[in-house]
Point group: C2
DNA sequence: CTGTTAGCGCGTTCAA
DNA sequence: TTGAACGCGCTAACAG
C-alpha cells in the first residue's frame, strides 16, 4: 500500500495538520519541523492522492472557453465538442462557461478575456488572435495566476501556458509535399485560399506551404492569396473568379475554413478540369468532397482532442501537476478517401 | 451542488446502506423499496461520484498485458509505453503485470491467457494471434467476466470486448493510394514485405493494399509477398534478393515491422534507383529513413495511445461505465518528412 | 430485509 | 507554531 499522510505524520513525529501545511506550502510551520516532514515525505516516497484531495476540498474547476462565433463547420464542431465536455462536467469536476465573440475581432477578444478574469476561473481557453492587445489581456490573466491555454490558433510571445493545436508550419509543408508529389512534376500555378492573414495559424500554414514548394517543386508557382474570411459565400466567389482567370491552374490549397464555398465553386466548373486540391478540416462537406474525388486530401485537427486536452491541461496547471506530454500533442491528421473514420 | 447518497436516502425515506445496495445491485432489498430508491435517484438526477466510490473501496485494477517478445522497434516502443503506464499506476489505481511470450506462437498465447485468468484480474489486454484456440481462451476469460481488449492486432469473432488498434484494411488502402499517386501513372511491379500472414493485421493491410492497386492503379503489379517475420535480418535478405531480381521495381510497401533490415537493404543498393517506399510504424529507423528520403511515407499507430486507451477501456468495462468513444479511436497517422513530431 | 457506524485519504476549522 | 476532530461522498462491516 502506498504511504498516506498518516504514515508521514507518524514517521516525522508530527500531526496530520502539520503534514498538510507542509504539503500545501502553507505558513505557520517552523523551518525545522518543515524539514522533518519533507524528509519523511521523500523517505517514504509519498505521492498525494489527488482524487481524495479533490473530494475533501469539494474542488470544482470553473473554466472559461472563449470561442469565435464563426459560421463554418469546423467552428461548429469545436462548439459541439465543448458542449460534450460540459455534459461530462459532473464526472470531471469542471464547470465550463463559453463566451462567444465575433470572429477576427481582437478588441472583442480583449473584452472577453477581461470579463473572464473578473470571474476568477481556474483556467481560460481561447482561440487566439495575433495582436498585442490580446497578449496584454493574457498577461493580465497570468498576473492573477490564471492558467491560459490557446486553442487552434496560438499566441507566441504571450504568457499563455500551453497551446492546444497543431504545428501549422508543418501542416503547410505537408500540404505542399502532398500537392507537389500528387502533381508529379507538372509545372504551373496553384491557388491558395485562406481565411485571414490576421490569424497566426493561417499565416503559418502559408509560410510552410510556400517554403516547400519553392525548395522542392520550383516549377509550381503560387497565385496571390485569396482571403475568404472563413465564409463559404465569399470563398465561392473568390475561387470561381480564380478558376475563370487561370485556365492553366494545377491545384488549390485551402488552408482555412469555409470549404463549403470552395467545393461549390469546384463543382460549378464541372468535371472538365482535374485540379489537385488539398483542404483543411474534416467536415461533412470536405468528407463528401473527398469521397467524390473533388478534394484529394484533407489535413485535419481533431477538435475533440483539442478541447479535452485543453481541459486536462488547465486542470493540471491549476493544481501544479504534470501531464502526459505525448497525450497532449495534437496531430496533423491526413485523410485520403481511403482512411476516413 | 449535485445530489449525494444522503439526498437519495432522505428523499426515499431509507438509510444510506439501502441506497448503496440499490446502486450496486446487491441483493437483500424488497422490490418496493428498490423502486422507491430508484425513483428518488432519477427524480434528483443522481450520478455517482466514481472517485469517492473508488476511494471508499480502496479500488485498484489488477490488469494483465500479454505482449510478444519481438525484437523490433515497434514492439520495444509498445513495451516502453506499458512501462510508462506502470509508472503512473499509483495515480490511476492500476496494478499492471506484463506477460511476455514468443511472437507468432498461438499455443504460448493460450497458456498466457489461461495463466492470466488464474490471477482473476480486472482486465486483460493482448496482442492477438488469429487462431481458434486463442478465441477459446478469450472465451474462457469472458466466461469469468474478465474484460478483454485486443491490442494492435484484433481477433474478430471472439468474445473480446474491444479492439485498441487501427483499421488495417484502411491502412493498406491508404498505402496503396499514396504509392499509386506518388508513382504518377508509371507501370511496373512493387514488392510487399510483411511479417507473417498468421497475424490478422498484416493480412488485412495486404488485402486493402491489393484491392486499391487493382481497382485504381491497374498498371502496378504486386510481387509475391515477402514474409520477414518482423525480424530485421530476415527482412534485409529478402529485400536484397528482390532488388537484385527485379531491375524494374517501382516501389515497396513494408506492412510489418523489422524495417531496420529493409532500410539496410535499400541503402546497400546505393542511390542508383529511386524507389517509392511506404512503411509502417514510426521508429528511430523509419524516422531517419524518412528524413533521408529513403522512405517516402510512414503509416503509424500511436502505441502510447493504444496502451492508454486499452487501460481506460478495461477500467471502464470493469465498472460497467461508458467511455468517450471518439477518444478511443486509434488513428492511422501518416507521416511525411514534413510533419514528423 | 434494513439501519448504524466506521472508515478510505485528505483538507480545514478551531483550540491549545 | 502545532494538534485534535470533523467532514467530503461513498462502501462495508455488523447489528437489528
Amino acid at each position: 500500500m502506498r504511504p498516506t499522510v498518516h504514515d508521514i505524520a507518524a514517521s516525522a513525529g508530527v500531526s496530520l495538520a502539520t503534514v498538510d501545511r507542509v504539503l500545501n506550502r502553507r505558513p505557520g510551520v517552523r523551518a525545522a519541523t518543515r524539514a522533518k516532514v519533507e524528509a519523511a515525505i521523500d523517505r517514504l516516497g509519498y505521492v498525494r492522492d489527488v482524487a481524495a484531495a479533490n473530494l475533501a476540498k469539494g474542488r470544482v474547476y470553473p473554466l472559461v472557453f472563449i470561442l469565435p462565433d464563426s459560421n463554418n463547420s469546423f467552428m461548429h464542431g469545436l462548439h459541439a465538442e465543448v458542449r460534450e465536455a460540459i455534459a461530462r462536467a459532473a464526472a470531471e469536476r469542471t464547470d465550463i462557461r463559453v463566451i462567444e465573440i465575433p470572429a477576427f475581432d481582437p478588441a472583442a477578444l480583449v473584452v472577453a478575456l477581461d470579463a473572464a478574469r473578473a470571474e476568477r476561473p481556474a483556467g481560460v481557453a481561447l482561440v487566439a488572435i495575433d495582436a498585442d492587445e490580446v497578449r496584454d489581456a493574457v498577461a493580465r490573466l497570468a498576473e492573477k495566476g490564471v492558467p491560459v491555454v490557446t486553442l487552434v490558433s496560438d499566441l507566441p510571445g504571450s504568457r499563455r501556458d500551453h497551446y492546444a493545436g497543431v504545428d501549422n508550419i508543418a501542416a503547410g509543408r505537408t500540404a505542399a509535399s502532398l500537392l507537389g508529389r500528387f502533381l508529379g512534376g507538372r509545372a504551373g500555378p496553384v491557388a491558395v485560399l485562406a481565411g485571414s492573414m490576421l490569424v497566426r495559424d493561417h499565416r503559418e500554414r502559408l509560410e510552410g506551404f510556400a517554403a516547400v514548394l519553392q525548395a522542392e517543386f520550383p516549377d509550381i508557382t503560387i497565385l496571390p492569396v485569396l482571403e475568404g474570411r472563413d465564409e463559404p459565400q465569399r470563398a465561392e466567389t473568390l475561387v470561381a473568379a480564380t478558376l475563370a482567370a487561370h485556365a492553366d491552374l494545377l491545384g488549390l490549397y485551402s488552408l482555412g475554413a469555409g470549404n463549403r464555398g470552395l467545393i461549390a465553386a469546384l463543382k460549378a466548373q464541372g468535371g472538365e478540369r482535374s485540379l489537385t486540391v488539398i483542404a483543411h478540416e474534416l467536415t461533412v462537406h470536405t468528407r463528401a468532397a473527398l469521397q467524390d474525388g473533388i478534394i484529394d486530401a484533407v489535413l485535419n485537427q481533431d477538435a475533440g482532442h483539442e478541447v479535452r486536452s485543453a481541459i486536462r491541461i488547465l486542470k493540471a496547471k491549476a493544481d501544479g501537476l504534470a501531464v502526459v506530454e505525448a497525450q497532449e500533442r495534437i496531430r496533423i491528421d491526413i485523410f485520403l478517401r481511403d482512411n476516413l473514420p
